[in-house]
Symmetry: C2
Subunit: 585 residues, 2 copies
């Protein structure tokens, strides 16, 4: 187990294990090397020096690198010829880096130093002895450090310090005990791919400037459509900046399919449209309706059963009602994996209704889509192959770094017709290559970040079977948690039965409330328990889990597991932590 | 000057310069080191080995790392104690990396190898002797390599090869001779910041999970508003996924300000709205209007003068016309830096008209916003301080890695009222910290990528004066280009006069066309020149510039400069290249 700050340097220590008590190893080697004759010593020293050990944090008295360099450069031969000896970041600025003349050496040293800081953070992220969060209130954090932007530049030593400080206060979202959001974990191949994406620094709008990434988007979306079950993986799609935007795309395309004239004429020219989604669905449906000029009042929330699944008979009733009022039902958005309960709407029954009334069927599988790669769990999405469009966020259950959200559309060409504006400065029609690869005009965005490479490289590294294994593991952990608490004293489940996704929703009832009658006062007191435990949890920093009220249920914990780093012990730890922090309430 | 593949290793070679002919340097050191007694040799070897030189590409016969390790591990002492000796990526998979047990060592070795690949790419990006692009047609590229996704995993050696191959075919967007888009260049501090952002892997919706980044967004947006000229930097804003979305936000907020009931009731409940923008404005205004249910017919394109600037009198005429028709003018989107001509609309005159008719004034300064930090050039945006909202993309003129686009809004709170949906699972009202820092509900997105850190860290590293210097330099280069070609034989300017931004628009007229009369046939032939030169340019790969038609002007080159790596010599090179590739046409 690495101790904080030493992880990276275990590489260079004698037996490969961390040795924080003996930080002088590489420097000691360097001193040995200096004794060799003929310039060899200095060159060895320079090579070794790149591996010199660094403290996790500067002690503030003197930047460690300056001090370390001074030590190294006090070599016997003057002038010192160590290649790194002149890289003193306190004397360098951004203008000394590439593309500056002679900028290569300081650039490589600087980027390597940044990388060392990042690698330390990565190692610490998986170390259960480190905190998930070093919490500070906003006003404290604003005072803790000077974050302001000035006219004059900082030197590179200060820039490195900014990086260290930023990470010091960051949430370790890869930590095995971070359960706060649907997106958790830090995948090493995904991280590498995201670094590469940053380095390639391009834009998805044309093949011309993103040839590989455009092809990889094609390959990856096709694979996802095959998994959904559309014949031959045919259809269309795009990676968009998050599930809310993917859902908005679905609504936009469904509207265009129903009334194509809306693109030119606007909503004023068409009848009033109505969309349907469950009362447990994601808020982005309403947000999208507000943005698209449909209006939130035109999003009808269909009742759910006690497990949070849409009730098909209520859907049909509301569709008929809308039609009777002269409105046009144009979209049903079913949810495969609701945000809070993790419920899967009955897609087959919903598909039948959509077919009967000729309504676009969208499936918001932002959270549940990952289950499609699991032989064991994919039945929960039976019927998804009948959808007209599907939102599927690999940055959730598949552990891809943020952001990676796909919208898949069954009918090819519709996105293009809906969104294209034929900008002649981007989509010239007389280019020398096949223009069908200039996919940018089907997007709402003009510039579009490369979100596909992370997913593609992870898929290559894991195979579909690898994703399956990590998803099955998370679901098994959720079941483990459910089995622990379902009969444990002090816990009440928010809904009965085994969870279908990794969402486990429960109240922790402190001893003082256990004997109270089930009345309003108890509910009122119970509603305050989760927020207090959560506040204490964040201040203590060892784990994080979310809570919220929902409908008539007062604040309860919503446990979700999407990080393959989590283990049974981490689940046990969470339970113990909740009890430790909440037993006096 | 680094040669391809050797850049990184100049670090370890004797005099710090690249030595592609002598790739054995570090291995040679290692062999020397092996001769030392007492285990020192092996340890030196292991340390040195991390710097061992690598060929730019594997020759395919045996992965270089495997071969190299074998060489190293054939040391005299058995069993070999080199810490790295057992890291054979051909035998390792993603499942051997963290969070795997004992995963730390392979993880660090893997990520360091990825980093070495990236550093090589960075160095090559700035090397004028390397190509900007190694162009392949889509079908060639699909056949060149197996990009498919399979059930079974690849090993880490193959994953590293995927990374190398991806970069081999990538456009070097940081190359000093890449002029193809408004976003060019590769900033070293911005790159470091983007790597850190990937590593922190969090989401902007709440302070709870992005404390530092939320504060930095606050600090940075405030600074941008101060520069715009809003008193005390007050107001609101957000970083959004690109300028098109930022412009759509402006339209959305302007509509909400005019008719707040649209959020619930939709467009059907309000009068017909009309937006105004110039005929040279960005296509995202129409795209936004289509999406928001306003309809593209309700976006009136105002005439421009010969320099591409909106004509205020035509704006006023069209506003009056719309009002006479009973429509409601709700938005004027002026452009500060048009996409093709780089024109700045007359903001003061437009502001007067907006004030007179009480219309929301938006300024799309996605491209021109950067000029606000230049004392010399900011006058071109005079009047921007009177706007109600401003789009400003630091990923364009300020050289921030993609994506980084800000929408700034003068009235505080409006974004929140317009977009909020009060999702109780994210924005719990009983949290223990100041909830005004939970900024996610003002966004259209739910999950939102951290786009601010790149800009913030670059600003710290350059200071405002550093941005100013690099922007002034790009504008000076554009003027240099203009001065070269304005009177040069074979060139015709698309519009007269010195460019206001870095856009220089021109036709190259090959010798065969120079004596032709100015008639339709000449225009028809001239329209084919730029596409052919561009196609040849891409196949040759040494530089890239964009072309397009506009209105009645046939295909012309649009040169833009946003990369501070470019020099006068690069401008000269572009001109020579155009002539070399086009003289026979």
């Amino acid at each position: 187990m690495a101790s904080p700050g030493s992880g990276f340097w275990s590489f260079v220590s004698e037996n490969g294990s961390a040795d924080p008590e003996n930080p002088g190893t590489a420097r000691a080697w360097c001193q040995v090397a200096q004794k060799f004759t003929g310039g060899i010593g200095n060159k060895l020293c320079a090579l070794l020096y790149r591996d010199a050990e660094k403290p996790a944090e500067s002690d503030g008295s003197e930047p460690w690198r300056v001090a370390a360099r001074k030590a190294v450069c006090a070599c016997e031969q003057k002038p010192c010829s160590c290649p790194n000896a002149d890289v003193d970041f306190a004397l360098l600025h951004a203008t000394d880096l590439l593309p500056a003349c002679e900028g290569e050496r300081p650039t490589l040293a600087f980027l390597q130093d940044v990388m060392d800081i990042l690698l330390q953070y990565v190692v610490k992220s998986f170390d259960r002895s480190t905190k998930v969060i070093d919490f500070h209130y906003p006003n404290e954090l604003l005072q803790e450090y000077n974050w302001e932007l000035a006219d004059q530049p900082q030197n590179l030593e200060e820039i490195l310090m900014n990086c260290r400080t930023t990470l010091k206060y960051a949430i370790k979202t890869g930590h095995p005990r971070y359960f706060n959001q649907l997106s958790t974990g830090l995948d090493m191949v995904g991280l590498a791919a995201d670094w590469l994406t940053s380095t390639a620094n391009t834009n998805m709008f044309t093949y011309e400037i993103a040839p590989v990434f455009v092809l990889l988007e094609y390959v990856t979306l096709k694979k996802m459509r095959e998994i959904i079950g559309w014949p031959g993986g045919s259809g269309d799609g795009i990676f968009s900046p998050g599930g809310a935007i993917s859902n908005m795309y679905a609504m936009l395309i469904a509207r265009f399919k129903t009334f194509p004239e809306v693109k030119e004429k606007g909503m004023a020219a068409i009848p009033r449209l109505i969309a349907f989604t469950s009362e447990h669905s994601h808020f982005s449906l309403k947000k999208g309706a507000a943005a698209l000029g449909i209006g939130t009042d035109s999003v009808i929330l269909i009742k759910c059963d006690e497990r949070g699944k849409m009730i098909p008979s209520d859907l049909e009733r509301r569709i008929l009602e809308a039609k009777q009022n002269g409105f046009v039902p144009f979209l049903v958005s079913a949810t495969a994996g609701t945000t809070v309960y993790g419920a899967f709407d009955p897609l087959l029954a919903i598909a039948d209704i959509c077919k009967k009334y000729k309504i676009w069927m969208h499936v918001d599988a932002a959270w549940g889509g990952g289950l499609l790669v699991s032989q064991k769990h994919k039945w929960k999405l039976s019927g998804v192959e009948r959808a007209n469009s599907v939102t599927w966020n690999p940055h959730k259950m598949m552990g891809v770094p943020l952001q990676c959200s796909a919208l898949l559309v069954r009918e090819e060409g519709l996105m293009q017709s809906c969104n294209q504006m034929h900008a002649s400065y981007l989509f010239q029609q007389d280019k020398h290559y096949d223009l069908s690869y200039d996919t940018g005009d089907k997007a709402l965005q003009c510039g579009r970040h490369v979100d596909v490479f992370k997913l593609w490289l992870m898929w290559r590294a894991k195979g579909t079977t690898g994703f399956e294994a990590q998803i099955d593991k998370c679901l098994e952990l959720a079941e483990y948690l459910y089995n622990i608490i379902k009969n444990r004293e002090g816990y009440e489940m928010v809904f009965d039965g085994k969870p279908q996704h990794t969402n486990v929703c429960f109240w922790y009832v402190p001893p003082s409330l256990r004997t109270l009658e089930d009345n309003e006062e108890r509910m009122s007191r119970l509603s305050k328990v989760a927020p207090v435990i959560k506040a204490r949890m964040m201040e203590y920093g060892a784990t994080m889990v979310s809570y919220q009220p929902l409908g008539d249920k007062v604040n309860f914990f919503r446990m979700v597991i999407s990080n393959p780093a989590a283990t049974h012990q981490d689940i046990d730890f969470l339970i113990e932590e909740i009890e430790r922090l909440g037993q006096d309430l």
